[in-house]
Amino acid sequence: MLNALCVNLNELTLAHARDGLRKKEFSSEEITRACIERIKDTDEIIHSYLSVFSDSALCVAREVDKKIRDGEFLSDVAGIPIAIKDNMCMKGESASAASKILAPYRASYDATVISKLKNARAVFIGRTNMDEFAMGSSTENSAFGATRNPLDAERVPGGSSGGSAAAVATHECIAALGSDTGGSIRQPAAFCGIIGLKPTYGAVSRHGLLAMASSLDQIGPLTKTVEDSKILFDAIRGKDVLDSTTVDSQIQNSEFKIQNLKVGVPKEYFDAGLDPRIADSVHRAIEQLVSAGAEIVDISLPHSPYALATYYIIMSAEVSANLARYDGIRYGYSVENESDNATKLYDIYANSRGKGFGAEVKRRIMLGTYVLSAGYYDAYYLKAQKVRRRIQDDFKKAFKKVDVIIGPTSPMLPFRFGERVADPLSMYIADVYTVAINLAGVPAMSVPFGKIIEKNSKGLDVAFPSGVQIIGKWFDENTLFEVAGHIEKTNMIKR
């Protein structure tokens, strides 16, 4: 694909960077410096990062270089600059989830994904921007300013992992971690034209991830290629005693043959709300699989139209419980030492939270508290849990007939700043094809395909790839990598 010596080192894929380091074609310090230089050049406009760890990153890079010189065999991610979404704890560093309420907070421990990458000698290049507490689809909800889309700076990068997606897309790092509760890895990957994986629920430990909705949250990689996605996923997955929802590795390793592949195409994912140009790209991506011998099966996921409403009840209920810990007492922002008229414990809670949380977070805490409150629990929360069962049953039934399900990641191209932030329902619609996957717990990937041309405000053409979403069986990430890899390869030939 790319000749490693022809590009700037920050533009390397993870696999090429790893191979080049092992062959001593360049050093980790050189790759890290290239990423830092790139950040200096572009991040004033793009704003992917909340902070950059230049000194500690270079220090780890030099350690790795020494080990390579000493002939030590290192992991696939050793010496690779990786960006981390601001909702994962790194001991001694800030972990603010892009919220004012956590601005003073310093993590006292490493998240499991961080300690795994630390042990593997990865280089942490910085913390990336996001929607506050991962609530949003555009990064406009960050308390520290929005991130811009590297394809067109007038548009949003998607969210909530918008900083991680933009950092990868504009080569300010080699790869990044994000988190996905309802589409927060896949949708920004689609908007920025990169690869995003939401692993199976239970595949990756969330210990040290600032919890949003615990029955839905997963950590996953945002990368330049499908191969990189697999490398980073393998580096972070596995059972962890500190997250009791994780399970022993059940990743299947059966031999993949595209001639035996059955692809389910759900009619509900090509509804009136989908941009017809994106529908066309997705159909063309599916055709690439057909011409390689895969069989197409028309399927139905009849409860998909109810996924978004179900998601908003369950997610907001869990948000209201999870965010109760930000109370102005133990850590983070508090009115305690301000000239505030807080005289009782209740005032500390309510005033710290009132001043510390942003608009969308308040909206969801309020919604969640409402649906859990006496008299409404059965009508909303219990009802949603029952519909969630029916949504999961749709997937179970479909996966008896097919190996993967393919549809769009997002119904729309990246939108412009301010277009949707005022009307919550118009923003929530951005997740219409991604939330059901989290409700069911299955893995899914977004892969870019095709090009849709639109004019920017200067009248220049900008090309946006469409995000093709590939949904797999529980713990069958390997089939996702195979199918996504095929779509990626044909996309490059056609480009």
Partner: protein
């Protein structure tokens, strides 16, 4: 339509102090969102068991014993770091205002 008093009551339960302006727009938004959510009543859920988590695991627990980690943390620099993260503290304890 959700009433102004109801919004105030929910804000009280959620322990979030809201300005008059916020009470207004959050009330409007909640009404809109609840109307949208109302479509779930079209789904027949007779005899359907609620799905209350992302996993089929039941009672994944560790043994009820002090771990090496927790022994190490007791009275360590790390526990001091945790107490020091609190905005108000006294003699190694986190200090809070009176309840009533």
């Amino acid at each position: 339509m959700i009433s102004h008093d109801e919004v105030k009551h929910i804000a009280h339960l959620a322990r979030v102090e809201l300005t008059a302006d916020e009470l207004e727009w959050i009330g409007t938004d909640l009404s809109k969102i609840l109307e949208y959510i109302g479509q779930l009543n079209d789904v027949d859920t007779t005899d359907i068991a609620p799905l209350n988590g992302g996993t089929d695991l039941v009672n994944a627990m560790r043994t009820d014993a002090q771990t090496e980690e927790s022994k190490r943390l007791h009275n360590s620099e790390e526990s001091a770091f945790l107490v020091n993260s609190a905005p108000a503290k006294e003699r190694g304890y986190i200090k809070v205002k009176s309840v009533f």
